[in-house]
């Protein structure tokens, strides 16, 4: 049974979470500055490891790592690399210590699953345990946690982002925003330095590599381009060293036949050797091996920095290509970049620092701990989103990391939103039928840069029915893509020629359905339905109180835009909603929230129009006159053109 620290009477506070491959952290803003929250007196850097004891207890962090070295079969580590991956993903066949479970049906194949201590788990459930542990650390200090910004690698695709959101949902954490890790780091740095300019964020973590080029201008952090590799990081360095150690231990590096406990030991020793080589030129590693006669002996293996450099050079060079591509995509050269920010524990490896300095032609900045900077940035963004910070001045504008498209006939991808498009983003594309009397469209949404759908990530597949039979090419299907500020995609499709409209909810090709998440939630909570209802009530209350607060604040600011009787209607709606909040019916709170929503809609539109007019108002009178003249010119052109076209037809 978990210790319940949560205090419902305390004011909920926002937190920032860096859910890492190797370590996870939780941070918050205290007295205007982001700080990592302490656990037992030291900054809580929780190893991203979860162990399951024979007694059915779930253990997270350092204790889990300890249990894991005793019995790797009872623990899960580095699951971030498996987030949003299907059972058939190549990642599942790489050097690791998982006991993967083959899917028995199509639904199961959507998420990789593995066996830990006799349980069959998905990476989402394991991540949820880590998030729960972080939430408890935060609750110990803050009494009540109000919502979290959780960071993800910029290069995470839609399925990986969705998996992260699902994990948060399972952990009972409200996600204020998924924030890209490099952007979070830039936020922590940028606010510290208050300096405009062009920055590169080089983020090499335990399992992922991101490179982001962004411009900081008067509080707006505008990402220009991003790139990377969602499966490249310190883990790969460990694997390369572990290969060497395994050869010494077993005479061959054949991982397939090595027991998982041996692989785990080799990986642990490899990581320690890597850390040692940050300061030393050579380290000795004691490994168990076999003597001449096959007897068990301890061997000492020396690994030098030069050896390490040679092993990891190919990985480091891969990051270099991504850096060059990101600069090209941003339309900048290395000379224009004002500063390079290093993020992630793997940037401590000396050859990585040297390499980064070479690629960008300047020494990287390192004044914020690369392990903490992402969590600190997340805390700042959480504070802004919760309306606690100085939100007027700061805004993050991120981009789509990978192109989104539709697979057309023949499996060729038609890109609808290219990579590095600023989000939130939307685009619309029209497709036509290819066969006579075709009554349905098969839509396949993919993400990636390759030309063929088969080489891209499949995000969703759905079938639009009910199209009236028409000759080929006559029916028109309009597909709309929307990407929100979390970088999450939604797709709508409608047939336009005949007026038949159909909107389809996308079923993800990977990840979990809402029902599956709900089921896991039920299973995870001790009292099942009862607790779920209590949680829903709490969530509705928090949300409704927030809306009431925002509306009252808006009335003080924009009262002049209220029409006759509108204020009275809004105030009635607020009173009724407050009554519902005082009660215990989540459905009633929800319904009353919607009524307030309706009552404020017209007014909100007017406020938004005024905000637009104010934003544009920077222009001078001459520009306005120019606009009017331009408009007249258009009319003249239209008339002229119509006349000419008319002449042509005779």
């Amino acid at each position: 049974m978990l210790l319940e620290i949560h205090d419902p009477k305390a004011r909920p506070r926002p937190i920032g979470i860096d859910l890492g491959t190797t370590n996870s952290l939780v941070a918050r803003v205290r007295d205007g500055r982001p700080v990592v929250i302490d656990d037992c007196g030291e900054p809580a850097m929780v190893p991203s490891a979860v162990a399951y004891t024979d007694g059915g207890e779930v253990v997270v962090g350092k204790a889990a790592l300890r249990l894991s070295s005793e019995n790797p079969a009872n623990a899960a580590v580095s699951v971030k690399r498996l987030m949003g991956r299907g059972a058939d993903d190549p990642e599942t066949r790489r050097l690791g210590t998982y006991d993967f479970v083959a899917p028995t049906n199509e639904n199961e194949a959507k998420s990789v699953r593995f066996r830990v201590a006799g349980r069959v788990l998905s990476p989402i459930e394991v991540s949820a345990e880590i998030l729960k542990a972080l939430r408890q650390i935060a609750e110990a200090e803050l009494r009540s946690v109000g919502g979290a910004v959780i960071t993800v690698p910029a290069y995470f695709d839609d399925a990986q982002r969705q998996a992260t959101k699902d994990a948060a949902k399972l952990a009972g954490i409200e996600v204020l925003r998924l924030l890209n890790e490099p952007t979070a780091a830039a936020l922590a740095y940028g606010l510290e330095k208050k300096q405009n300019g062009l920055f590169a964020v080089y983020d090499l973590g335990g399992g992922t590599f991101d490179i982001t080029i962004l411009r900081l201008h008067d509080g707006v952090f505008e990402v220009k381009s991003t790139g990377g590799d969602s499966q490249l990081g310190g883990d790969d360095m460990d694997r390369a060293i572990a290969d060497v150690l395994l050869r010494e231990m077993r005479g061959s590096a054949d991982v397939a036949t090595a027991p998982r406990s041996v692989v785990r030991l080799a990986l642990d020793l490899a990581r320690r050797a890597k850390h040692g080589l940050t300061d030393a030129e050579a380290v000795d590693v004691e490994v168990p091996g076999k003597g001449e006669g096959g007897e068990a002996i301890n061997k000492s293996v020396t690994i030098t920095r030069a050896q390490l450099d040679a092993l990891i050079l190919p990985m480091v060079e891969r990051t270099g290509s991504a850096c060059k591509r990101a600069m090209r995509d941003a339309g900048v050269t290395s000379a224009e970049i004002d500063g390079v920010i290093l993020v992630g524990g793997s940037t401590r490896v000396p050859i990585v620092r040297t390499f980064v300095a070479k690629v960008f032609g300047k020494e990287p900045l390192g004044d914020i701990d690369p392990d903490q900077v992402v969590a600190l940035g997340a805390a700042v963004q959480a504070d802004l989103l919760a309306g606690e910070g100085n939100a007027e001045d700061v805004l993050l504008l991120d981009v789509l990391p990978l192109s989104l498209g539709i697979a057309t006939m023949g499996g060729v991808v038609e890109k609808i939103l290219p990579r590095n498009t600023t989000i939130p983003a939307g685009a619309r594309q029209t497709f036509t039928t290819y066969a006579d009397n075709q009554t349905g469209f098969d839509l396949h949404v993919v993400q990636g840069e390759r030309e063929l759908a088969a080489d891209c990530r499949s995000l969703a597949q759905f079938f639009l029915k009910g199209i009236p039979p028409l000759p080929a090419g006559l029916a028109r299907l309009e597909v709309t893509f929307h990407v929100d500020a979390d970088g999450m995609l939604s797709v709508k499709a409608r047939e336009t020629t005949t007026g038949v409209e159909q909107t389809i909810a996308v079923q993800p090709s990977y990840g979990l359905t809402d029902e599956q998440v709900e089921e896991m939630l039920m299973a995870a909570i001790d009292h099942g339905e009862e607790d779920l209802a209590a949680r829903r009530l709490l969530e509705e209350r928090v949300e409704a109180e927030r809306i009431v607060g925002a509306t009252i604040k808006a009335i003080t600011g924009d009262a002049d835009l209220l029409e006759d009787g509108e204020r009275a209607r809004i105030e009635t709606a607020i009173r009724e909603l407050r009554e519902a909040i005082g009660g215990d019916k989540p459905a009633l709170i929800h319904a009353r929230s919607e009524m307030l929503d309706q009552a404020t809609k017209g007014w909100a539109e007017r406020r938004m129009d005024r905000a637009i007019a104010r934003a544009i108002a920077g222009k001078n009178v001459g520009d306005v006159e120019g606009d009017v003249e331009g408009a007249r010119g258009v009319d003249a052109h239209v008339a002229e053109h119509a006349a000419r076209r008319g002449g042509g037809e005779i």
Binding site: G426, T600, I612, E640
Partner: protein, 170 residues
């Protein structure tokens, strides 16, 4: 509402990049969904929709081809590849030859040769873009807009293939 209206900018092909960037910043600072957290859902949806419009308008105006399309539409020209006039045979011929040259160079993975082509195409793109700007600036030359736009599209497609090749090298 076209992209110029959305951003409140005077319609012109020669666009001040810095002004566009500033207007973008000013508008998203006012409209971004992050500024509406905790507001009623309808308002949040509205903010999201408006921000998408603004971002899309900026994307449109940053791209010379799409910017020219917006301006051509303002003149009532039938924009869109299916309605635009067919390109002259000479241009088609020339582009076919360039395409063959590019296919050969990429097939041989001859990065230097591709780069040489890319430089030639970028120079050409700049020249075509200049002509397009001139045609769009003068009402008397409206008739030239679509043919030049067509030429831009051909050059762009070649450059897209160059980019795809570069991507495969990274």
């Amino acid at each position: 509402m076209d992209a110029f209206d959305t951003l409140g900018l005077a319609p012109a092909f020669d666009l001040d990049e810095a002004e566009l960037a500033k207007r973008h910043r000013d508008l998203v600072k006012a409209l971004h969904p992050d500024k509406f957290v905790g507001c009623p859902p309808a308002e949040r949806r509205m903010a999201l929709g408006k921000t998408i419009e603004v971002n899309e308008a900026v994307r449109t105006l940053r791209d010379p081809i799409r910017r020219a399309e917006v301006l051509a539409r303002r003149r009532g020209l039938p924009v869109g590849e299916t309605s635009e006039p067919a390109p002259p045979a000479a241009l088609l011929m020339e582009m076919m030859e360039e395409r063959e040259e590019l296919a050969e160079a990429t097939g041989a993975r001859d990065a230097l040769r591709v780069e040489k082509m890319a430089i030639r195409m970028r120079t050409r793109q700049a020249a075509v873009q200049k002509r397009l700007g001139e045609a769009l600036a003068s009402e008397a030359r409206t008739g030239e807009v679509l043919p030049i736009l067509g030429e831009m599209r051909y050059v762009r497609r070649l450059l897209d293939d160059v980019l795809a090749f570069e991507d495969s090298l990274f």
